[in-house]
Symmetry: D2
Subunit: 395 residues, 4 copies
């Protein structure tokens, strides 16, 4: 079965222009074509993150988790770290730091909620933390943390603010510098819309200065080892520490060119429209969104609560209908929800298809829903909620 | 703008597996890989056409029109030909034959109708025709001629029955041998689902025997010149008359493999479901189909009559919404309709998207329609009209 | 076995950038992307042919033979045509015209030679010919006709000068307008370096004017039917007669962009160097070139005479060594030679590999050659015959 | 400039079949197509490493360095590690371990040499080491360590024998189980012939058992976290720890299929022939190989000592001639050599081209060489040194 629509949580459906951008049989890690792609991509990454040249961009092998772990390059033995966790990927920070000689404290939200800014403010006023980590969009639930507000409240009390933007960058508004975030990181396979295989980060000047010899990071994920490579590459000069994913970087470059053509703001607006449309459809069917409050809704991932039927049945029957959704992974909601990823190259036709499939599948499986109301609500939103003239949102 | 759904009349959206099948930088016209692809494709073409080994398959450069013109290889000076025309592509037979020393008579149907079998029977009883040509699905209107019935009625009165299956083979049931059709032809870019560039034909034993030196065809499209090449290639031996579209043939082979995996019957069933769903949606919107009677409906092309708005506006606004439809081209209905192509790799998600876009676009443009009823009707058809378990119709 | 070097006579090794340029799943025959590619390609074709806007460019389905047959669009019943034939593809003109109501006379050269300009001049002075056809490079022998000189001698005596540049355009100097040639035609799979599937022509103003209703061409290859389409497409407006090979045209556009980047002159110079190097190698081995005189040498195809061994053994053993050459096809030299194609994206590394393989294979098979001298001669030519600084000839 | 031959040290020229294997727009990390590719690849990895099912295979994100660092998963605080280093990548083990709480001792060879097996034996008899690490082929010099012999000598004295096969697996004979090696690791971009982005390892039963909670590894490169995923995937069941490079794994699967078709033994034999041919050519030119003794020669990388000219000039001029070689990176030989990578899909035509380019470039630059002798020696080796019938070594 082909021509599937992949609405998992990353990789999702990838534009073939992006994939074909990496099909080069003769590009090595010091080849001009690769160095140029790195240079372009590092520079564009700043735009995507909303930062000036004072921030240092990195593209390193791996993905979201390796990018997260690489911030240990900013820590020293005994440092205190506050983890703000809204779910599985928030908790991952705890698991990572547990392997290192730092003191970790975590503030956790219930599934579907985010830790309140005031709660975080309160905590950082009580104790001095070297680093606070947050998750912009928690992939396990689709809940968005109000980063700007939190950062504003805690900025004066902590040394480093680190944001996991794995499920946000490319689909949510990100203004890392305005928000005074020190490290904003993401992965290639999410809203950027390329295959998995790279982590992307920007570090503030202050963060970059901390990349000392005495940091607690290991070797491969130690940003200190990558710093010179990134600086050299950005200037168009080949450099090597450990071999970068050459072909993936060529794809990232192509994706960034397409993003530039679309316009970053237009892209975020597209994600907003798409996610709004999905929620309209889900709600009209009579189902609940995992994220409990509108402020918590994200542009990129939507969790859908089920009343009666087994999410695995929904996933496998939807796959038969040509769409692959993602299972729910938050342990507190085990077996009660599934997720729709809507990142990267997703468009309104995908939304219509997705809601239509969900409608048919749930009806068939016996879930009590308002059959017919889902797609109808999407259509009404698209025609009335937004003007067609501004809805040129096929990527 | 990418990730468009192409619902034009061929090429339509092509599966990337098919396209990538032709990406070979080192395959020449005598290379084993090409000869094997030809051999496989010629053999599979028989299955697609529903014929035994007594029929001779051909894959020649060009497309539908060149395949049509190549049947002049079966004619001699002064032969009488009866053209059964249901529209633009039926009339094309007349234009072709007008360049050759044969006597042509045409039976023409009004736009939206097909020439009645009894009318054709009557004509062939009145006069002896060497050849009768018909169009299985008339691309300009989406009208289907009942080939089996016509052939049955006229078989004893004419020497050669020729069917243009350009818009049918791969999407409609074709049983050329059972129906006693002598030549069934198609083009690569329609329901077979590959790029344009080749015409494909099967000739009955009787037709093949007529490929004499005294035929009236020119050189390049003279099937006599291609016959030995096809016979040799099928046996796995390189042969050349004029260079075949090597890379396209590699794609055709890949498409045929995918068709084999899907199953020819399943593929036709998928086209039936898809076309039924589209008509349900269009009718529920309150619009008329160009084909006037259910027997005339085709699995592959649907013309949609508009009451008020300009079809060009529908096309350009739909394109903005991510779907490319085709303009109407029948002169008698100029400016009154547009066409939806649903051939090849089309699936139900494409249908849902198409009807949804049409709903929104027509509503926005001011066409009087039942907004919301289109997609709803499709959904109801998909859930009640066909069972989901048998609707595994994503190609 | 992959990573073969294809040195057949077209298609040859194709650059993957070119192939990937056609991998688009959603481009139809009226899509902007296709129309733009046609417009660009038609315009660039003029540059490649060395003509101004007074010439009308055509890109039509098929290949070399269909492009040749399409010149019947310029003829009327009873016209006299002089065919200048240096081999198999020269003779093809005779076979084509034999299907049409024209009077054909042919001047033929022996294998390895070309018809002398003075001989042609003499003939056209004796009788009035509407059309003279010539073959720039005869693919069957690699012999080049001195088109400029012939055209100069006959221009005043004939109405139309037609040149088959199938094996020359893109690899030989072509200045159709300066030379006062009326029709210069080629095919996509030769020195242009794209897959087979299209014929490309330019017609002088005088030739274009002759595309009347009373021409003797059939329908599909009648340039009169394509004229409006080409004119419309060049202006960026979709138009249709019969479906063009959309994806191939996208590849042609990509190839033309690469040719523009390389520079047409540089490209021809590269073909000169490559062909000189091949001949140096072959001659140093003690073998003869099929083309008998230096003026007859072409930039694109070299026939190699064998003294003793069977060419089929050379081909199959060379294939085992990773290079696919072409068999000889001139009947007068049957079994005595094989051909090396060196067109399109060929570079000096291919040459070195080819001569080295020929050296080893012939030695192994027992052909009396100067083992070791072939590659050595190529190396000496490359280092002394041309300066390295100007030999930047990897395409 | 395209159609370059990439003879760097990884990635090198990659077969397009391999690259195209990863062009899938709709495969997610739990999609069946990916899980199947992982399952196949993990199983095939055992064959490539020469191990039975008692070994546990891993495919993890990153590359050679991350695979190396992941063996910290087998260590506990205070463990003693002996590093056997023949150059830059041998020293990398020291840099890695220096970030962890273990005691490291290193035995180092001079550039061009390898540490003698008896020296290693002597050391492990003096002190108890938990782990000994070796580099099968040192990429910086092309020197091969005799792993089998070393392992035999030290097996009884150490707990874990770890071999970095980054520049060997796929091109050198590897029989990890027979040799009683506990960990054999490699990277995707070297002799396996896929893009960079993954590290591949096999762990003996004994090694796998040591993956305890108390190991000193971090989080992302902790094989303990990947173990369940690999076991599940091998059984065909989706599982996730952190997102794997989905598309690269699809390419690895394709490469492994091609390797299976070629045959692992044939592939290694091809690398032997290719590397022998290169050395014959280099030596005939009068140049020295970096590896000082024949036992130290590797199948995959050859360092070439220069007497006079600047290696950077050689690299840039060679690039102009269509081949990209690699710079020398061993600090003790800085500015004195360059490297030829001959891994993955390299064939004899590449060798001929490479030696011919080196001959011309060095001659032009003024290096004292025996011009003409290089390619000649390769040709003589290929025709006499190996029989053509067995030299079917185009990959």
């Amino acid at each position: 079965m082909t021509r599937k629509i992949l609405m998992h949580v990353g990789p999702e459906t990838i534009d073939y222009d992006v994939l074909l951008g990496g099909i080069k049989g003769d590009v090595g890690f010091t080849s001009k074509e690769f160095v140029d792609a790195m240079s372009f991509s590092l520079k564009f990454l700043r735009k995507l993150m909303g930062v000036s040249e004072s921030y240092q961009p990195f593209i390193i092998p791996g993905g979201g988790t390796s990018a997260m772990e690489s911030v240990t390059s900013l820590l020293r033995k005994g440092d205190k770290v506050l983890v703000v966790s809204n779910g599985v990927f928030g908790n991952r920070w705890i698991d990572i730091f547990s392997r290192y000689p730092v003191n970790v404290k975590a503030l956790k939200a219930k599934a579907g909620y985010y830790v309140k800014p005031e709660e975080i403010e309160e905590e950082v006023k009580k104790d001095h933390y070297t680093m606070v980590t947050m998750t912009h969009v928690e992939t396990s639930t689709g809940v968005r943390e109000p980063i700007a507000e939190v950062a504003k409240r805690i900025r004066d009390y902590v040394d480093l603010i680190v944001v996991d933007g794995v499920a946000s960058v490319g689909g949510e508004e990100v203004r890392a510098e305005d928000w005074k975030v020190d490290v904003f990181l993401t992965a290639s396979q999410k809203a950027i819309g390329t295959p998995p295989g790279a982590g992307l980060l920007v570090l503030s000047e202050n963060a970059t200065k901390r990349l000392g010899e005495d940091n607690i990071a290991g070797y491969y994920l130690n940003l200190k080892n990558w710093l010179g490579v990134m600086q050299s590459m950005e200037k168009g000069k080949a450099s090597n520490f450990s071999t970068l994913p050459v072909h993936l970087v060529l794809m990232i470059k192509r994706a960034f060119e397409l993003i530039e053509t679309e316009g970053i703001e237009n892209r975020i607006r597209r994600h907003e429209i798409v996610s709004s449309a999905i929620r309209k459809g889900i709600e009209a069917l009579g189902l609940e969104i995992v994220a409990k409050t509108p402020e918590a809704y994200s542009n990129t991932v939507t969790g859908v609560m089920l009343k009666k039927v087994n999410p695995n049945d929904v996933l496998s029957m939807s796959l038969t209908e040509g769409i692959e959704f993602a299972p729910g992974v938050h342990p507190d909601l085990a077996g009660k929800y599934f997720r729709i990823g809507h990142m990267g190259w997703v468009n309104i036709n995908d939304v219509i298809s997705a809601i239509a499939v969900i409608e048919r599948v749930l009806s068939k499986l016996g879930e009590p829903i308002n059959f017919g109301e889902g797609v109808k609500a999407v259509q009404e939103y698209l025609i009335n909620g937004i003007s067609i003239s501004s809805s040129n949102i096929a990527p």
